[in-house]
Amino acid sequence: MLYMSVFVLVPLAAVVAKSVSSGLGTLWDSIDNTLAIRAIVITMTASLIVAAIGAIMGTLVAWVLVRDQFRGKRVINALIDLPFALPTIVAGLTLIALYGPGSPVGIHLAYTRAAVIVALLFVTLPFVVRSVQPVLLELDQEVEEAAASLGASNLTTFRRVILPVLKPAIFSGAALAFARSIGEFGSLALIAGKVQIASIVIYADIESGSEQSAAALSVVLMLVALIVLLILRWIGARVGH
């Protein structure tokens, strides 16, 4: 507990304290400027889009990795962890290298919102894949065969038999991806450009010495993230039953 306090709890308490240090009124004033609100809206929207795309593509990738057989599958499987191993700043840089100025494929995404989404999809890729994969592996294929023998089409079997079992795993993976996206800095530092992502606005505030407004935005960001996560977890628990 002492270890946690020194490294984690006391510092976070200090942020909360700083944000209200000149009274709740000032906290509200720092939030009540368009820049801070915009930053929070942009960050939340981007994170939700990333969680949604990640849930669909992650489930698809997990399906292919579990049910399909092809040469090189093991290599692909190992590559899924690459975003966790690769430092996030390198992740951002790789996307600039491919989709930025002087792009070898002629696509210019860098410094736009689309680039932010792509960078976040990159760093959060493993979450859904790695949470759905083990569930798919354990899934009893006899149930699917039973459904098929009763005349269900593949799509019906997937929707009515497989998806309900996968849903909790998809949701928890997507929630992790969402949480990660909200706070992500490293991969966006180079690529975000003028897109006002919350973590970048906070960094700019710290650099310019306005710790008070950085702390205020931090606290609100953490609160909104917490609320959205609780809602996601609640939906996740409901669809799980």
Binding site: V61, L86, I89, F185
Partner: protein, 274 residues
């Protein structure tokens, strides 16, 4: 369920194209850009005094954070799974441990400044003794510890739950002290979980930028890690990403690919052990 060849192939194609566009191609382009003006140019950017000192500082921070978080991680996991603390207490500790995952690294950096920086809660205590924490290496070390704290706990807890405590109880009945039981029985059974947690901690420690950037003074040769060096070089060239930036990135990427290989190795071992 019989899936037609066409569906299988199209799903496979979608998955592979997605992974290629998102992962493989971008990483390949960075390597290509690094060496496009020849190996010598890239090597000279990797061996400038600033780059060499950044490499060592990156490794030093990992060497501080990894052992600390490993000891804490195994201890906390033991408390969470085997400890006799009340359930509510454990639940609180359990969710607090995840905080570093959900709080933005930039906010973590800000938090450290507010506590250990000048005019911070404990900042003046250290400053009066002539110790600089923020904008110096100690602060960067604390930031690294913070962001990589949960990994070992999260890997060890499920393994401990899975193996149960029957063997430990057997050891205790045979007269082993709790210390002996831990070293001789518990630790050997959870070793692959610990190893995987250590690898994840290392990966995060090597690559951390947000929290470390905020508490570093960003002086080349003394308080730059490799990720910070990439960031600084990118700013210097004004976004016109050049070989200097790519070279540092490749250097860091090679370090982390070693980590990825270890990850794959230990990851499959932990799954077999379960």
């Amino acid at each position: 369920m019989v899936i037609s060849r066409r569906t299988t192939l199209s799903l496979r194609t979608i998955a592979l194209v997605y992974l290629t566009l998102l992962l493989l191609l971008p990483v390949a382009v960075v390597f290509w850009r690094t060496f496009e003006h020849g190996f010598g140019t890239a090597w000279s950017f990797m061996t400038t005094p600033a780059a060499v000192s950044a490499l060592w500082l990156t490794i030093l921070l990992a060497l501080i954070a990894v052992p600390l978080n490993t000891i804490f991680g195994v201890g906390a996991a033991m408390v969470l799974v085997r400890g006799k603390a009340p359930r509510a207490g454990k639940a609180i500790l359990d969710s607090l441990i995840d905080l570093p995952f959900v709080v933005s690294p930039v906010i973590i950096g800000l938090a450290l400044i507010l506590v250990y920086g000048q005019g911070g809660w404990f900042g003046d205590v250290f400053t009066n003794h002539g110790i600089r924490i923020i904008y110096a290496v100690p602060g960067m070390a604390i930031a690294t510890v913070f962001v990589s704290l949960p990994f070992v706990v999260r890997e060890v807890v499920p393994v401990l739950r899975e193996v149960g405590d029957e063997q430990e109880q057997a050891a205790a009945t045979l007269g082993a002290s709790s210390w002996q039981t831990f070293w001789r029985v518990t630790l050997p059974t959870i070793r692959w979980g610990v190893a995987y947690g250590v690898v994840l901690t290392t990966a995060r420690a090597l690559g951390e930028i947000g929290a470390v950037l905020v508490v570093s003074s960003n002086v080349a040769g003394s308080t730059l890690t490799l990720p910070l060096l990439i960031f600084q070089r990118d700013e210097q060239v004004g976004g016109q990403v050049s070989t200097s930036v790519y070279a540092a990135a490749t250097e860091l990427a090679v370090l982390s690919i070693v980590v990825l290989l270890l990850m794959t190795m230990f990851g499959s071992r932990t799954k077999e052990a379960r």
